[in-house]
């Protein structure tokens, strides 16, 4: 089963839920950190690095000997990544979406693609958990190709938990695509509810079944509960606002290990999710 843990608002507890859920899944679960701009799961799960791979996208290069400055490539490019000046074409890699179009339309065979680095994917053995950690290079604009590279490491015979980035734009959608279930983590506050509604619209548009986890229950009011009730959205779990949780989190500790009273909450969430898989 592929479970994505997402949210609208940042900082609601996606990584907390992902990491603790992975801990209670037991034997042979994968945790894939798809929040490649700001990955945090590795801070809570220590283990041995098995593989580190550089991830590239294919960016066009123009052979100025063959280029006749016809401008077909720059006319074609939707992203202003190719410019034709003085009988030659020039590529701006940071704008390029790696669609392969300019190479396709070039009649002179003057364009060829080369690897351009965007980040790394590390595979870490953290006991029962295989952690796949994607890390975008600082300065790279587009996270989605790296999210896809992380997801290519999913082993279909194991359960996979995907720690998604916040929001509803392309990197979040790239994470959620083809998941079996989405857990939306929120907080019971005005910002939390507003952004939850955006995330709900996203998962509904994508047609993936989902449920909600309310974190820091008690800091606000019951608006999220009322919303879930009205919308018939399953409320999977409530994690109380407990300063000890915040403090453990601040130190990089997993709740189920340092606050055993909460172990039951996460096993309950796990069982709830496995039940929905069937």
């Amino acid at each position: 089963m592929i479970i994505a843990v997402a949210s609208g608002k940042g900082g609601t507890g996606k990584t907390t839920v992902s990491v603790n859920l992975a801990r209670v899944f037991g034997n042979g679960v994968q945790l894939l950190d798809c929040d490649v701009e700001a990955p945090n799961a590795h801070l809570f799960l220590r283990g041995d690095l098995l593989v580190e791979e550089t991830v590239n996208i294919r960016i066009p290069e123009v052979n100025s000997q063959l280029c006749n400055g016809c401008g077909d490539c720059s006319d074609f490019c939707e992203f202003n990544a190719v410019v034709t000046i003085a009988k030659s074409a020039m590529v701006f890699p940071e704008l390029c979406h790696a669609c392969g179009g300019c190479e396709t339309v070039c009649r002179k065979n003057a364009i060829r693609e080369a690897d351009s680095r965007i980040g790394t994917v590390q595979t870490i053995n953290a006991g029962d958990i295989t952690l796949v950690h994607g890390r975008l290079d600082v300065g790279i604009s587009s996270a989605s190709p790296l999210v896809e590279a992380v997801k290519r490491r999913i082993q279909p015979e194991l359960h996979a938990i995907l720690d998604a980035p916040p929001g509803t734009s392309c990197p979040a959608v790239a994470t959620l695509r083809k998941s079996d279930y989405v857990v939306l983590v929120t907080e019971p506050t005005p910002f939390g509810l507003h952004d939850l509604k955006l995330a709900v619209a996203m998962v509904r548009q994508m047609g993936i079944p989902f449920g909600v986890v309310v974190n820091r229950y008690g800091i606000g009011d019951d608006r999220v509960h009322l919303y879930c009730g009205r919308e018939n959205i399953p409320l999977l779990l409530e994690i109380p606002d407990d300063r000890r949780i915040a403090e453990a989190y601040s130190r990089g500790e997993t709740i189920v290990d340092v606050l055993p009273a909460y172990l039951g909450l996460f096993t309950q969430l796990r069982d709830s999710l496995l039940y929905r898989a069937d």
């Binding site: 940042g10 939707e78 955006l198």
Partner: protein, 290 residues
């Protein structure tokens, strides 16, 4: 005219809450909510919308079933997995474009032997110009799964600059998005100063390093403040030391205060609600010397 951008790396550190208080403390500011993905500043500043604008950016491919000859030539060249096989009986053709996956590159449009693929402009969201109790505010909402968040952010910032010029306002306060990707880059480039709001946690520390690196990359001076600092004073100090080593300036600390959330629930900034943390926020504001 100065532009202050509030960023974090890590989500949920308190950017929007701090921005709302700064709006109250600043003299005649313009506010720009550049977290176009999940905008929340309006929930506190309660803007009256004066102008709404559709945001069109890029294109999307749409197959015309009546002209599709089901050759499938469009499928393999699509780098984004957007060409999907569908049931001919219900769809009129064997292929369709998944709008969520479609990147708007135009390769399939160019390749189609019968020119059966339309390429209309894509409506990606909307942006608004509003008035608030503290000044004009430009904000936006990106559509679900939409591309071009960077472009929408740029549109918001350009409008904010225009308003500042028109009304002789000297400061634009930009509520930035989390992360370090295209929306954050668009929110930061050309800003006079960035304030990185972080939290005293291993995650906050990790992501702060990345956002500071991004700011250095763009040559933007950064000030740092640790929010909820008393949840872990040791970590707070560690983060502040690292930030200074990375060339940032420490402008203060904000204590953890539940009144910040109560204020949000009343659509008030912390400094309007006289929360205990308000004194800390005022101190940070003073230190920014804007």
């Amino acid at each position: 005219m100065k532009e202050l951008v509030i960023i974090s790396g890590k989500g949920g550190t308190g950017k929007t809450s701090v921005t709302a208080s700064f709006a109250a403390l600043a003299e005649r500011p313009v506010m720009a909510d550049c977290d176009v993905d999940a905008a929340d500043l309006h929930l506190v500043l309660t803007p009256e919308i004066r102008q709404r604008n559709d945001f069109y950016s890029g294109h999307e491919a749409v197959i015309r079933p009546q002209d599709c000859i089901n050759c499938g030539v469009c499928m393999d060249p699509c780098r984004f997995g957007a060409v999907v096989e569908v049931d001919m009986a219900t769809n009129g053709a064997s292929f369709a474009i998944d709008p969520i996956a479609c990147e708007g590159c135009g390769v399939c449009v160019w390749l189609c032997p019968t020119k059966a693929i339309d390429f209309p402009e894509r409506l990606c969201g909307e942006w608004m110009v509003s008035s608030t109790r503290y000044g004009p505010m430009v904000h936006a909402q990106l559509g679900v799964a939409a591309e071009n968040s960077g472009k929408l952010v740029t549109a918001v910032r350009e409008m904010a600059r225009l308003l500042a010029e028109q009304e002789s306002r000297k400061l634009i306060i930009i509520d930035g998005p989390p992360g370090i990707g295209c929306a954050t880059i668009a929110a930061m480039t050309g800003a006079s100063l960035a304030l990185a709001v972080t939290e005293p946690t291993v995650s906050g520390e990790h992501d702060l390093e990345r956002i500071l690196s991004l700011a250095r990359h763009f040559g933007i001076p950064v000030s740092v403040c640790v929010n909820k600092w008393d949840l872990n004073p040791e970590m707070t100090e560690r983060i502040e030391n690292k930030a200074v080593q990375a060339g940032a300036r420490i402008v203060g600390r904000i204590r953890y205060d539940r009144a910040m959330t109560y204020a949000q629930m009343q659509a008030q900034a912390a400094v309007e609600a006289n929360a205990a943390c308000a004194a800390d926020i005022r101190q940070v504001w003073r230190q920014l010397e804007l």
